[in-house]
Symmetry: C2
Subunit: 298 residues, 2 copies
Protein backbone atom coordinates (compact mmCIF):
# COMPACT_ATOMS: atom_id res chain seq x y z
CA UNK A 1 0.00 0.00 0.00
CA UNK A 2 1.38 3.41 -0.88
CA UNK A 3 0.68 6.69 0.87
CA UNK A 4 -1.99 7.84 -1.59
CA UNK A 5 -4.22 5.04 -0.24
CA UNK A 6 -3.41 5.51 3.41
CA UNK A 7 -4.29 9.05 4.49
CA UNK A 8 -2.29 11.37 6.65
CA UNK A 9 -3.97 10.77 10.00
CA UNK A 10 -3.73 7.00 9.64
CA UNK A 11 -0.07 7.25 8.62
CA UNK A 12 0.87 9.50 11.54
CA UNK A 13 -1.06 7.27 13.94
CA UNK A 14 0.89 4.26 12.67
CA UNK A 15 4.25 5.99 12.84
CA UNK A 16 3.85 7.51 16.28
CA UNK A 17 2.10 4.59 17.95
CA UNK A 18 5.20 2.91 19.32
CA UNK A 19 7.16 5.97 20.41
CA UNK A 20 8.57 5.84 23.92
CA UNK A 21 8.17 9.17 25.70
CA UNK A 22 10.42 10.34 28.52
CA UNK A 23 9.42 11.62 31.94
CA UNK A 24 9.50 15.28 30.87
CA UNK A 25 7.06 14.87 28.00
CA UNK A 26 3.67 16.31 28.90
CA UNK A 27 2.24 16.02 25.38
CA UNK A 28 3.84 14.09 22.53
CA UNK A 29 2.73 13.73 18.90
CA UNK A 30 -0.86 14.60 18.05
CA UNK A 31 -1.38 18.12 19.38
CA UNK A 32 -0.38 21.41 17.71
CA UNK A 33 2.94 21.42 19.62
CA UNK A 34 4.85 19.05 21.86
CA UNK A 35 4.69 20.17 25.49
CA UNK A 36 7.78 19.53 27.62
CA UNK A 37 8.82 20.04 31.23
CA UNK A 38 8.30 18.77 34.75
CA UNK A 39 4.64 18.10 35.62
CA UNK A 40 4.39 21.00 38.11
CA UNK A 41 6.73 23.49 36.41
CA UNK A 42 5.41 27.06 36.20
CA UNK A 43 6.19 27.18 32.48
CA UNK A 44 6.33 24.43 29.95
CA UNK A 45 8.40 24.39 26.76
CA UNK A 46 6.57 24.16 23.42
CA UNK A 47 8.27 22.60 20.40
CA UNK A 48 7.03 22.47 16.82
CA UNK A 49 8.44 21.76 13.34
CA UNK A 50 6.61 22.42 10.11
CA UNK A 51 7.67 22.33 6.48
CA UNK A 52 6.50 23.93 3.26
CA UNK A 53 7.34 22.26 -0.04
CA UNK A 54 7.49 23.80 -3.50
CA UNK A 55 4.62 22.53 -5.63
CA UNK A 56 2.56 21.59 -2.56
CA UNK A 57 2.42 24.64 -0.27
CA UNK A 58 3.64 27.23 -2.74
CA UNK A 59 4.47 27.56 -6.43
CA UNK A 60 7.80 28.32 -8.10
CA UNK A 61 6.60 31.73 -9.25
CA UNK A 62 5.20 32.82 -5.87
CA UNK A 63 6.88 35.82 -4.26
CA UNK A 64 9.71 34.37 -2.10
CA UNK A 65 9.08 36.98 0.62
CA UNK A 66 5.53 35.68 0.99
CA UNK A 67 6.74 32.07 0.93
CA UNK A 68 9.13 32.85 3.82
CA UNK A 69 6.36 34.62 5.72
CA UNK A 70 4.06 31.63 5.30
CA UNK A 71 6.68 29.06 6.27
CA UNK A 72 7.39 30.93 9.47
CA UNK A 73 3.80 31.80 10.37
CA UNK A 74 2.55 28.23 10.10
CA UNK A 75 4.69 27.27 13.08
CA UNK A 76 3.80 30.47 14.96
CA UNK A 77 0.13 29.54 14.51
CA UNK A 78 0.73 26.17 16.17
CA UNK A 79 2.31 27.84 19.18
CA UNK A 80 -0.66 30.23 19.36
CA UNK A 81 -3.01 27.24 19.30
CA UNK A 82 -1.49 26.04 22.60
CA UNK A 83 -1.91 29.49 24.18
CA UNK A 84 1.86 29.98 24.11
CA UNK A 85 4.60 32.41 23.16
CA UNK A 86 7.12 31.61 20.38
CA UNK A 87 10.70 32.49 21.29
CA UNK A 88 13.39 30.83 19.12
CA UNK A 89 13.37 29.42 15.60
CA UNK A 90 15.55 27.24 13.39
CA UNK A 91 15.26 27.29 9.60
CA UNK A 92 16.32 24.40 7.36
CA UNK A 93 16.41 24.98 3.61
CA UNK A 94 16.91 22.37 0.92
CA UNK A 95 17.32 24.20 -2.35
CA UNK A 96 18.38 23.46 -5.91
CA UNK A 97 21.70 24.79 -7.18
CA UNK A 98 19.84 26.53 -9.98
CA UNK A 99 18.02 28.84 -7.58
CA UNK A 100 19.27 32.43 -7.53
CA UNK A 101 20.96 33.75 -4.41
CA UNK A 102 18.64 36.77 -4.62
CA UNK A 103 15.61 34.45 -4.44
CA UNK A 104 16.90 32.80 -1.26
CA UNK A 105 17.71 36.20 0.23
CA UNK A 106 14.15 37.33 -0.47
CA UNK A 107 12.81 34.15 1.15
CA UNK A 108 14.91 34.96 4.21
CA UNK A 109 13.62 38.54 4.21
CA UNK A 110 10.11 37.08 4.57
CA UNK A 111 11.24 34.76 7.35
CA UNK A 112 12.95 37.63 9.15
CA UNK A 113 9.92 39.89 8.82
CA UNK A 114 7.69 37.25 10.43
CA UNK A 115 10.25 36.58 13.15
CA UNK A 116 10.46 40.29 14.01
CA UNK A 117 6.67 40.71 13.94
CA UNK A 118 6.12 37.89 16.43
CA UNK A 119 9.16 38.53 18.63
CA UNK A 120 11.09 35.40 17.64
CA UNK A 121 14.88 35.05 17.23
CA UNK A 122 16.09 32.91 14.31
CA UNK A 123 18.96 31.13 16.06
CA UNK A 124 20.00 28.60 13.42
CA UNK A 125 19.86 28.27 9.66
CA UNK A 126 20.96 25.10 7.89
CA UNK A 127 21.06 24.78 4.14
CA UNK A 128 21.33 21.71 1.97
CA UNK A 129 21.09 20.99 -1.69
CA UNK A 130 17.85 19.66 -3.13
CA UNK A 131 17.79 17.79 -6.45
CA UNK A 132 14.28 19.08 -7.03
CA UNK A 133 11.74 21.16 -5.18
CA UNK A 134 12.56 23.67 -2.49
CA UNK A 135 11.85 22.67 1.12
CA UNK A 136 11.68 25.07 4.03
CA UNK A 137 11.41 23.60 7.51
CA UNK A 138 10.78 25.94 10.43
CA UNK A 139 11.17 24.78 14.02
CA UNK A 140 9.91 26.98 16.83
CA UNK A 141 10.68 26.63 20.50
CA UNK A 142 8.46 28.60 22.82
CA UNK A 143 6.79 28.43 26.18
CA UNK A 144 3.43 28.61 27.90
CA UNK A 145 2.39 29.05 31.53
CA UNK A 146 1.26 25.64 32.75
CA UNK A 147 -2.15 26.97 33.79
CA UNK A 148 -2.71 28.58 30.36
CA UNK A 149 -1.68 25.65 28.20
CA UNK A 150 -4.65 24.54 26.07
CA UNK A 151 -4.62 21.06 24.54
CA UNK A 152 -6.90 19.54 21.93
CA UNK A 153 -8.05 16.93 24.38
CA UNK A 154 -9.79 18.98 27.11
CA UNK A 155 -13.15 19.56 25.45
CA UNK A 156 -16.38 18.31 27.10
CA UNK A 157 -19.90 17.63 25.87
CA UNK A 158 -21.82 20.90 26.06
CA UNK A 159 -18.87 23.14 25.22
CA UNK A 160 -19.55 25.90 22.71
CA UNK A 161 -17.36 25.96 19.57
CA UNK A 162 -16.01 29.25 18.27
CA UNK A 163 -13.82 30.06 15.30
CA UNK A 164 -11.96 33.31 14.58
CA UNK A 165 -11.87 35.22 11.28
CA UNK A 166 -13.35 33.94 8.03
CA UNK A 167 -12.74 30.57 6.41
CA UNK A 168 -12.03 29.62 2.80
CA UNK A 169 -10.21 31.24 -0.07
CA UNK A 170 -6.69 30.34 0.95
CA UNK A 171 -5.98 28.97 -2.50
CA UNK A 172 -6.72 32.40 -4.00
CA UNK A 173 -3.64 33.72 -2.22
CA UNK A 174 -4.55 34.22 1.42
CA UNK A 175 -2.39 31.24 2.36
CA UNK A 176 0.74 33.33 1.69
CA UNK A 177 -0.35 36.34 3.74
CA UNK A 178 -2.32 35.09 6.73
CA UNK A 179 -1.74 36.42 10.24
CA UNK A 180 -1.37 33.79 12.94
CA UNK A 181 -3.73 34.59 15.81
CA UNK A 182 -1.01 34.89 18.42
CA UNK A 183 -2.20 38.07 20.14
CA UNK A 184 -5.78 36.79 20.16
CA UNK A 185 -4.79 33.41 21.62
CA UNK A 186 -2.72 35.02 24.37
CA UNK A 187 -5.63 37.31 25.23
CA UNK A 188 -8.01 34.35 25.22
CA UNK A 189 -5.99 32.16 27.60
CA UNK A 190 -5.36 35.11 29.92
CA UNK A 191 -9.05 36.09 30.22
CA UNK A 192 -10.97 32.88 29.58
CA UNK A 193 -10.13 29.23 29.87
CA UNK A 194 -10.95 27.30 26.70
CA UNK A 195 -11.18 23.57 27.30
CA UNK A 196 -9.64 22.73 23.93
CA UNK A 197 -8.09 24.63 21.04
CA UNK A 198 -6.33 24.12 17.70
CA UNK A 199 -5.58 26.11 14.58
CA UNK A 200 -7.53 25.34 11.39
CA UNK A 201 -4.83 24.24 8.97
CA UNK A 202 -6.50 21.50 6.92
CA UNK A 203 -10.00 23.00 6.75
CA UNK A 204 -12.81 22.93 9.30
CA UNK A 205 -14.20 19.75 7.75
CA UNK A 206 -11.00 17.89 8.65
CA UNK A 207 -9.97 19.74 11.78
CA UNK A 208 -13.24 19.94 13.73
CA UNK A 209 -13.61 16.13 13.74
CA UNK A 210 -9.98 15.93 14.92
CA UNK A 211 -10.61 18.30 17.81
CA UNK A 212 -13.76 16.41 18.77
CA UNK A 213 -12.00 13.05 18.58
CA UNK A 214 -9.08 14.28 20.69
CA UNK A 215 -11.60 15.44 23.31
CA UNK A 216 -13.61 12.22 23.16
CA UNK A 217 -16.70 14.14 22.00
CA UNK A 218 -19.08 14.28 19.10
CA UNK A 219 -20.06 17.66 17.70
CA UNK A 220 -22.77 19.67 16.03
CA UNK A 221 -21.96 22.23 13.36
CA UNK A 222 -24.39 24.96 12.34
CA UNK A 223 -23.34 25.49 8.74
CA UNK A 224 -25.28 28.74 8.52
CA UNK A 225 -22.97 30.21 11.15
CA UNK A 226 -19.68 29.27 9.50
CA UNK A 227 -17.91 32.58 8.68
CA UNK A 228 -17.17 32.53 4.96
CA UNK A 229 -14.54 34.63 3.20
CA UNK A 230 -16.19 37.03 0.74
CA UNK A 231 -16.52 35.37 -2.65
CA UNK A 232 -16.22 31.82 -1.33
CA UNK A 233 -18.72 29.00 -1.01
CA UNK A 234 -19.48 27.02 2.13
CA UNK A 235 -17.65 24.07 0.59
CA UNK A 236 -14.53 26.21 0.22
CA UNK A 237 -14.87 27.48 3.77
CA UNK A 238 -15.04 23.92 5.04
CA UNK A 239 -12.50 22.34 2.74
CA UNK A 240 -9.88 24.76 1.41
CA UNK A 241 -7.66 24.59 4.48
CA UNK A 242 -4.76 26.85 5.43
CA UNK A 243 -7.02 29.30 7.20
CA UNK A 244 -4.86 29.32 10.34
CA UNK A 245 -7.76 30.62 12.39
CA UNK A 246 -8.33 29.49 15.99
CA UNK A 247 -10.98 26.87 16.72
CA UNK A 248 -11.80 26.37 20.38
CA UNK A 249 -14.26 24.89 22.84
CA UNK A 250 -15.49 26.91 25.82
CA UNK A 251 -17.93 26.09 28.65
CA UNK A 252 -21.36 27.47 27.68
CA UNK A 253 -21.46 29.63 30.80
CA UNK A 254 -18.64 31.77 29.41
CA UNK A 255 -19.64 31.97 25.77
CA UNK A 256 -21.78 35.13 25.89
CA UNK A 257 -19.22 36.96 28.04
CA UNK A 258 -16.44 36.01 25.67
CA UNK A 259 -18.34 37.26 22.65
CA UNK A 260 -18.98 40.60 24.31
CA UNK A 261 -15.37 41.05 25.47
CA UNK A 262 -14.01 39.87 22.15
CA UNK A 263 -15.84 42.58 20.21
CA UNK A 264 -14.19 45.15 22.42
CA UNK A 265 -10.71 43.64 22.28
CA UNK A 266 -10.69 42.72 18.58
CA UNK A 267 -13.36 44.81 16.86
CA UNK A 268 -12.04 43.98 13.39
CA UNK A 269 -11.76 40.21 13.74
CA UNK A 270 -15.04 38.28 13.76
CA UNK A 271 -15.62 35.54 16.31
CA UNK A 272 -18.30 33.04 15.28
CA UNK A 273 -20.20 30.53 17.41
CA UNK A 274 -20.45 27.62 15.01
CA UNK A 275 -21.58 24.64 17.07
CA UNK A 276 -20.96 22.61 20.16
CA UNK A 277 -19.48 19.40 21.50
CA UNK A 278 -21.95 16.65 22.29
CA UNK A 279 -21.78 13.14 23.72
CA UNK A 280 -19.76 10.90 21.48
CA UNK A 281 -22.46 8.25 21.30
CA UNK A 282 -24.71 10.70 19.49
CA UNK A 283 -24.94 10.26 15.77
CA UNK A 284 -23.50 12.97 13.62
CA UNK A 285 -19.79 12.93 14.34
CA UNK A 286 -18.77 11.85 10.87
CA UNK A 287 -21.07 14.18 8.97
CA UNK A 288 -18.28 15.12 6.63
CA UNK A 289 -14.70 14.34 5.87
CA UNK A 290 -13.63 16.57 3.02
CA UNK A 291 -10.84 18.69 4.50
CA UNK A 292 -7.40 18.56 3.06
CA UNK A 293 -5.47 15.33 3.40
CA UNK A 294 -1.87 15.55 2.28
CA UNK A 295 -1.82 12.15 0.65
CA UNK A 296 -5.39 11.38 -0.36
CA UNK A 297 -6.45 11.24 -3.99
CA UNK A 298 -8.16 14.47 -5.04
CA UNK B 1 24.18 34.50 -9.39
CA UNK B 2 22.79 31.09 -8.53
CA UNK B 3 23.75 28.91 -5.59
CA UNK B 4 26.18 26.73 -7.54
CA UNK B 5 28.48 29.77 -7.82
CA UNK B 6 28.07 30.98 -4.27
CA UNK B 7 29.13 28.27 -1.83
CA UNK B 8 27.41 27.18 1.32
CA UNK B 9 29.41 29.15 3.88
CA UNK B 10 29.05 32.39 1.92
CA UNK B 11 25.32 31.80 1.50
CA UNK B 12 24.73 31.11 5.18
CA UNK B 13 26.85 34.10 6.14
CA UNK B 14 24.72 36.29 3.89
CA UNK B 15 21.43 34.92 5.15
CA UNK B 16 22.21 35.05 8.85
CA UNK B 17 24.07 38.37 8.87
CA UNK B 18 21.09 40.54 9.67
CA UNK B 19 19.33 38.34 12.19
CA UNK B 20 18.28 40.04 15.41
CA UNK B 21 18.92 37.81 18.42
CA UNK B 22 17.01 38.06 21.67
CA UNK B 23 18.39 38.41 25.18
CA UNK B 24 18.29 34.67 25.86
CA UNK B 25 20.40 33.71 22.86
CA UNK B 26 23.90 32.73 23.98
CA UNK B 27 24.94 31.40 20.55
CA UNK B 28 23.01 31.91 17.32
CA UNK B 29 23.74 30.61 13.81
CA UNK B 30 27.25 29.36 13.08
CA UNK B 31 27.97 26.77 15.75
CA UNK B 32 26.88 23.13 15.83
CA UNK B 33 23.79 24.04 17.87
CA UNK B 34 22.06 27.20 19.02
CA UNK B 35 22.62 27.79 22.74
CA UNK B 36 19.76 29.38 24.68
CA UNK B 37 19.12 30.53 28.22
CA UNK B 38 19.96 33.22 30.76
CA UNK B 39 23.68 34.12 30.86
CA UNK B 40 24.25 32.59 34.34
CA UNK B 41 21.81 29.67 34.17
CA UNK B 42 23.18 26.35 35.40
CA UNK B 43 22.02 24.62 32.23
CA UNK B 44 21.55 25.98 28.76
CA UNK B 45 19.18 24.67 26.11
CA UNK B 46 20.64 23.34 22.84
CA UNK B 47 18.59 23.46 19.65
CA UNK B 48 19.46 21.96 16.26
CA UNK B 49 17.69 21.09 13.01
CA UNK B 50 19.20 19.04 10.25
CA UNK B 51 17.76 17.54 7.08
CA UNK B 52 18.62 14.66 4.77
CA UNK B 53 17.38 14.74 1.19
CA UNK B 54 16.94 11.84 -1.21
CA UNK B 55 19.55 11.95 -3.96
CA UNK B 56 21.89 14.10 -1.85
CA UNK B 57 22.33 12.38 1.51
CA UNK B 58 20.94 8.98 0.58
CA UNK B 59 19.72 7.08 -2.48
CA UNK B 60 16.27 5.76 -3.28
CA UNK B 61 17.42 2.16 -2.93
CA UNK B 62 19.18 2.62 0.42
CA UNK B 63 17.75 0.68 3.34
CA UNK B 64 15.14 3.01 4.91
CA UNK B 65 16.11 1.84 8.43
CA UNK B 66 19.64 3.09 7.84
CA UNK B 67 18.34 6.34 6.31
CA UNK B 68 16.28 6.96 9.47
CA UNK B 69 19.27 6.15 11.65
CA UNK B 70 21.45 8.59 9.72
CA UNK B 71 18.88 11.40 9.72
CA UNK B 72 18.55 11.16 13.49
CA UNK B 73 22.24 10.66 14.31
CA UNK B 74 23.38 13.73 12.36
CA UNK B 75 21.52 15.97 14.81
CA UNK B 76 22.68 13.89 17.80
CA UNK B 77 26.25 14.44 16.61
CA UNK B 78 25.75 18.21 16.66
CA UNK B 79 24.51 18.08 20.26
CA UNK B 80 27.55 15.93 21.16
CA UNK B 81 29.82 18.53 19.55
CA UNK B 82 28.61 21.10 22.12
CA UNK B 83 29.27 18.70 25.01
CA UNK B 84 25.53 18.32 25.56
CA UNK B 85 22.76 15.78 26.05
CA UNK B 86 19.96 15.34 23.49
CA UNK B 87 16.52 15.03 25.04
CA UNK B 88 13.58 15.63 22.67
CA UNK B 89 13.18 15.34 18.90
CA UNK B 90 10.74 16.37 16.19
CA UNK B 91 10.64 14.66 12.80
CA UNK B 92 9.28 16.29 9.65
CA UNK B 93 8.83 14.11 6.57
CA UNK B 94 7.99 15.26 3.06
CA UNK B 95 7.29 12.20 1.02
CA UNK B 96 5.84 11.32 -2.37
CA UNK B 97 2.46 9.64 -2.58
CA UNK B 98 4.07 6.81 -4.51
CA UNK B 99 6.18 5.75 -1.54
CA UNK B 100 5.03 2.59 0.23
CA UNK B 101 3.70 2.83 3.77
CA UNK B 102 6.05 -0.04 4.67
CA UNK B 103 9.02 2.04 3.50
CA UNK B 104 8.05 4.95 5.73
CA UNK B 105 7.47 2.58 8.64
CA UNK B 106 10.98 1.18 8.16
CA UNK B 107 12.39 4.70 8.06
CA UNK B 108 10.63 5.39 11.35
CA UNK B 109 12.00 2.16 12.80
CA UNK B 110 15.49 3.53 12.12
CA UNK B 111 14.60 6.88 13.68
CA UNK B 112 13.15 5.12 16.74
CA UNK B 113 16.19 2.88 17.12
CA UNK B 114 18.50 5.90 17.16
CA UNK B 115 16.21 7.77 19.56
CA UNK B 116 16.20 4.83 21.97
CA UNK B 117 19.96 4.32 21.71
CA UNK B 118 20.70 7.94 22.63
CA UNK B 119 17.91 8.41 25.19
CA UNK B 120 15.83 10.82 23.13
CA UNK B 121 12.01 11.05 22.98
CA UNK B 122 10.45 11.71 19.58
CA UNK B 123 7.72 14.15 20.64
CA UNK B 124 6.36 15.27 17.28
CA UNK B 125 6.09 13.91 13.77
CA UNK B 126 4.72 15.99 10.92
CA UNK B 127 4.25 14.63 7.43
CA UNK B 128 3.68 16.41 4.18
CA UNK B 129 3.52 15.45 0.56
CA UNK B 130 6.56 15.93 -1.65
CA UNK B 131 6.25 16.16 -5.44
CA UNK B 132 9.73 14.68 -5.74
CA UNK B 133 12.49 13.54 -3.43
CA UNK B 134 12.00 12.46 0.15
CA UNK B 135 13.04 14.94 2.78
CA UNK B 136 13.57 14.13 6.47
CA UNK B 137 14.17 16.96 8.91
CA UNK B 138 15.14 16.12 12.48
CA UNK B 139 15.11 18.76 15.22
CA UNK B 140 16.70 17.98 18.56
CA UNK B 141 16.29 19.94 21.75
CA UNK B 142 18.80 19.14 24.48
CA UNK B 143 20.80 20.74 27.23
CA UNK B 144 24.32 21.25 28.49
CA UNK B 145 25.75 22.43 31.80
CA UNK B 146 26.93 26.00 31.27
CA UNK B 147 30.44 25.19 32.42
CA UNK B 148 30.69 22.22 30.05
CA UNK B 149 29.38 23.92 26.93
CA UNK B 150 32.07 23.90 24.22
CA UNK B 151 31.80 26.34 21.31
CA UNK B 152 33.76 26.50 18.08
CA UNK B 153 35.09 29.91 19.01
CA UNK B 154 37.13 29.22 22.16
CA UNK B 155 40.35 27.89 20.59
CA UNK B 156 43.70 29.67 21.16
CA UNK B 157 47.03 29.65 19.42
CA UNK B 158 49.07 26.76 20.82
CA UNK B 159 46.08 24.44 21.37
CA UNK B 160 46.57 20.85 20.27
CA UNK B 161 44.08 19.47 17.73
CA UNK B 162 42.68 15.95 18.17
CA UNK B 163 40.22 13.97 16.11
CA UNK B 164 38.38 10.78 17.10
CA UNK B 165 38.01 7.62 15.01
CA UNK B 166 39.09 7.30 11.40
CA UNK B 167 38.23 9.60 8.52
CA UNK B 168 37.13 8.88 4.97
CA UNK B 169 35.07 6.20 3.31
CA UNK B 170 31.66 7.56 4.18
CA UNK B 171 30.58 7.27 0.58
CA UNK B 172 31.24 3.52 0.67
CA UNK B 173 28.38 3.19 3.14
CA UNK B 174 29.66 4.34 6.54
CA UNK B 175 27.55 7.49 6.28
CA UNK B 176 24.42 5.40 6.91
CA UNK B 177 25.77 3.57 9.96
CA UNK B 178 28.00 5.97 11.88
CA UNK B 179 27.83 6.32 15.65
CA UNK B 180 27.67 9.89 16.94
CA UNK B 181 30.34 10.37 19.62
CA UNK B 182 27.91 11.33 22.35
CA UNK B 183 29.35 9.22 25.16
CA UNK B 184 32.89 10.29 24.24
CA UNK B 185 31.98 13.98 24.16
CA UNK B 186 30.24 13.81 27.54
CA UNK B 187 33.28 12.06 29.02
CA UNK B 188 35.57 14.64 27.46
CA UNK B 189 33.76 17.71 28.82
CA UNK B 190 33.43 16.09 32.26
CA UNK B 191 37.15 15.26 32.57
CA UNK B 192 38.93 17.81 30.38
CA UNK B 193 38.04 21.23 29.12
CA UNK B 194 38.48 21.55 25.34
CA UNK B 195 38.68 25.15 24.21
CA UNK B 196 36.77 24.47 20.99
CA UNK B 197 34.97 21.52 19.43
CA UNK B 198 32.87 20.55 16.40
CA UNK B 199 31.86 17.41 14.56
CA UNK B 200 33.44 16.63 11.19
CA UNK B 201 30.49 16.60 8.82
CA UNK B 202 31.86 18.12 5.61
CA UNK B 203 35.36 16.62 5.78
CA UNK B 204 38.42 17.73 7.71
CA UNK B 205 39.56 19.88 4.78
CA UNK B 206 36.44 22.02 5.09
CA UNK B 207 35.78 21.77 8.80
CA UNK B 208 39.23 22.37 10.29
CA UNK B 209 39.51 25.79 8.59
CA UNK B 210 36.02 26.57 9.92
CA UNK B 211 36.99 25.70 13.48
CA UNK B 212 40.19 27.76 13.18
CA UNK B 213 38.32 30.72 11.70
CA UNK B 214 35.67 30.62 14.43
CA UNK B 215 38.49 30.67 17.02
CA UNK B 216 40.38 33.44 15.24
CA UNK B 217 43.38 31.14 14.75
CA UNK B 218 45.45 29.67 11.99
CA UNK B 219 46.36 26.00 12.14
CA UNK B 220 48.95 23.40 11.26
CA UNK B 221 47.91 19.95 10.09
CA UNK B 222 50.30 16.98 10.12
CA UNK B 223 48.89 14.96 7.26
CA UNK B 224 50.89 11.88 8.29
CA UNK B 225 48.89 11.79 11.51
CA UNK B 226 45.42 11.98 9.97
CA UNK B 227 43.67 8.70 10.88
CA UNK B 228 42.54 7.12 7.62
CA UNK B 229 39.80 4.52 7.26
CA UNK B 230 41.24 1.23 5.96
CA UNK B 231 41.18 1.21 2.16
CA UNK B 232 40.93 4.98 1.80
CA UNK B 233 43.40 7.59 0.58
CA UNK B 234 44.42 10.74 2.43
CA UNK B 235 42.37 12.76 -0.05
CA UNK B 236 39.29 10.75 0.89
CA UNK B 237 40.02 11.16 4.59
CA UNK B 238 40.22 14.92 4.11
CA UNK B 239 37.41 15.38 1.64
CA UNK B 240 34.73 12.68 1.79
CA UNK B 241 32.85 14.24 4.68
CA UNK B 242 30.10 12.71 6.82
CA UNK B 243 32.61 11.24 9.25
CA UNK B 244 30.78 12.65 12.29
CA UNK B 245 33.89 12.33 14.40
CA UNK B 246 34.81 14.92 17.04
CA UNK B 247 37.47 17.52 16.26
CA UNK B 248 38.64 19.57 19.22
CA UNK B 249 41.31 21.93 20.50
CA UNK B 250 42.87 21.41 23.93
CA UNK B 251 45.58 23.34 25.84
CA UNK B 252 48.94 21.60 25.23
CA UNK B 253 49.41 21.03 28.95
CA UNK B 254 46.50 18.55 28.95
CA UNK B 255 47.14 16.74 25.69
CA UNK B 256 49.34 13.90 26.97
CA UNK B 257 47.07 13.29 29.96
CA UNK B 258 44.04 13.15 27.72
CA UNK B 259 45.64 10.65 25.38
CA UNK B 260 46.53 8.35 28.28
CA UNK B 261 43.07 8.56 29.88
CA UNK B 262 41.34 8.19 26.53
CA UNK B 263 43.03 4.85 25.80
CA UNK B 264 41.69 3.55 29.10
CA UNK B 265 38.17 4.94 28.66
CA UNK B 266 37.74 4.14 24.95
CA UNK B 267 40.28 1.43 24.06
CA UNK B 268 38.59 0.67 20.74
CA UNK B 269 38.26 4.23 19.42
CA UNK B 270 41.48 5.89 18.23
CA UNK B 271 42.25 9.45 19.23
CA UNK B 272 44.75 11.19 16.95
CA UNK B 273 46.80 14.32 17.53
CA UNK B 274 46.72 15.89 14.09
CA UNK B 275 47.98 19.43 14.48
CA UNK B 276 47.64 22.65 16.41
CA UNK B 277 46.22 26.14 16.36
CA UNK B 278 48.70 28.92 15.59
CA UNK B 279 48.58 32.69 15.31
CA UNK B 280 46.28 33.75 12.53
CA UNK B 281 48.89 35.95 10.88
CA UNK B 282 50.97 32.87 10.14
CA UNK B 283 50.77 31.59 6.62
CA UNK B 284 49.18 28.25 6.06
CA UNK B 285 45.57 28.73 7.06
CA UNK B 286 44.20 28.19 3.59
CA UNK B 287 46.34 25.18 2.70
CA UNK B 288 43.38 23.37 1.30
CA UNK B 289 39.72 23.84 0.61
CA UNK B 290 38.44 20.59 -0.80
CA UNK B 291 35.88 19.45 1.76
CA UNK B 292 32.31 19.02 0.80
CA UNK B 293 30.34 22.12 -0.14
CA UNK B 294 26.65 21.51 -0.67
CA UNK B 295 26.35 23.83 -3.63
CA UNK B 296 29.78 23.93 -5.27
CA UNK B 297 30.40 22.40 -8.64
CA UNK B 298 32.00 18.95 -8.33
Amino acid sequence: MNLAHCGEDALIATLTRRLELGANVRVGPGDDCAVLGAPRAIRWQLLKSDAVVEGVHFLSNDDPRRVGWKAFCRAVSDVAAMGGVPEHALVTLAVSREVKVAWVEALYAGLRRAARKFGVSIVGGETSRSPGPLFVNVTISGWVERNRCILRSGGRAGDILHVTGRLGGSRAGKHLDFTPRLAEARWLVAHFKPHAMMDVSDGLAADLPRLAKASGCGFTLDETRVPITRGCTLAQALGDGEDFELLFALPPLHAAGLEREWRRAFPRLPLSRIGSFIQRSTLNTQLFQNGYDHFADA
